[in-house]
């Protein structure tokens, strides 16, 4: 039996291994605590990014990002073991037309929804990832917040569901 659940939780072993901003009151760990009320803030200028690493390899069906005032969000994935090699491969990917390291690169224009949180869903149809990289390229304000990233999927150590 395998269960499909949110694998993007610190309780499932997911961690934020990099974040370009950090206010000690609003740390990036808040993205993975499963709560909407806690959040990570960016602290000025763009682009900003954070990388989530899974505890092993995950198969993801759907990603949900809950944020505030984000305009342009780019998501990349890596199946590399080491999150440090992630960036190098991303650079390589630009030169080569297709590369196994990055299977996903999406540029999403989020609608400005001042006064309410944005909930954006990305259907990924079971793609594999050990790390996810989120790049906030632009915004509707000087500062934005990320409240939650949810990944409906399963860890690869379990057999995939039909």
């Amino acid at each position: 039996m395998t269960k499909v659940s949110d694998v993007c939780l610190s309780s499932c072993g997911a961690t934020v291994v990099l974040a370009t901003s950090s206010d000690e009151h609003y740390p990036p760990e808040n993205i993975l605590d499963g709560k909407l009320e806690t959040f990570w803030t960016t602290t000025g200028t763009f682009p900003q990014e954070f990388i989530i690493s899974f505890n092993g390899s995950a198969r993801i069906n759907k990603l949900t990002v809950q944020s505030y005032l984000v305009r342009n969000l780019k998501i990349e994935k890596s199946i590399s073991k080491d999150p440090i090699s992630f960036e190098k491969c991303a650079e390589k990917e630009r030169r080569e037309s297709l590369n196994c390291w990055i299977l996903l690169q999406r540029k999403i224009y989020l609608e400005n929804s001042e006064g309410q949180l944005q909930t954006e869903e990305f259907m990924l149809s079971g793609c594999q990832a050990t790390h996810l990289r989120f790049i906030i390229e632009s915004s509707y304000d000087h500062f934005v917040s990320i409240h939650r990233v949810m990944a409906d999927g399963a860890m690869d150590s379990m057999s995939p569901t039909a």
Binding site: E24, T43, G44, Y68, S138, H142, F143
Partner: protein, 186 residues
């Protein structure tokens, strides 16, 4: 404790003293540029400002921008998503004051944010006999355009730090306001 980062656009006509002010601020008053050296494109100067009565700070990335029209196309791209704006004119040069409206419009066009903290700085107040722009006139224009107004003399090292510190403080205030807004939205 938080360290914010602000993209600080320093704009205005050529020869009003933008680079001199930026260099004085960077060096805490130790470096006054005696000879004029035209800024080509943009010089970026980094300096961290501590916010009084807090443990917070703001790192200013000062985009000391050329006032020459020939570089405007390059600067326009470098100015994307500004955090704060410092407009400088020369109190003995009326044309440089009149140009401020143009510079203001150009920088504001590069942001989607509803509020861009900004200051207007009248520099070269040491040139008392040659003054052509009155303080009152400049203050009024600044107020109409939602800018704080300061006068400086880079040569006499008067007030040169104030516009920078004021903008750092405004940006820090914006952050605090935004965090409160986010709490209310959740």
């Amino acid at each position: 404790m938080v360290k914010l980062t602000a993209k600080f656009i320093l704009a205005g006509d050529a020869t009003v003293g933008k680079s001199t002010l930026a260099q004085l601020f960077r060096s805490d008053g130790a470096h006054f540029q005696k000879n004029y050296a035209m800024t080509v494109g943009v010089d970026i100067i980094m300096k961290t400002v501590h916010i009084p009565e807090t443990s917070d700070s703001v790192e200013l990335l000062i985009y000391d921008s050329s006032g020459k029209e020939i570089f405007y196309e390059i600067m326009e791209k470098l100015w994307e998503q500004p955090s704060v704006l410092c407009l400088v004119y020369d109190v003995s040069n009326e044309q440089s004051f009149n140009s401020c409206a143009k510079w203001l419009q150009r920088v504001r066009a590069r942001t989607l944010c509803s509020h861009l903290p900004g200051v207007l700085v009248g520099n070269k107040t040491d040139l008392v006999g040659r003054r052509t722009v009155e303080q009152k006139q400049a203050q009024e224009w600044a107020a109409q355009n939602d800018l704080e107004y300061f006068e400086t003399s880079a040569k006499e090292m008067e007030n040169f730090e104030v516009p920078f510190r004021s903008l750092a403080k405004s940006f820090h205030h914006l952050y605090q306001e935004k965090v409160e807004t986010i709490h209310s939205v959740v």
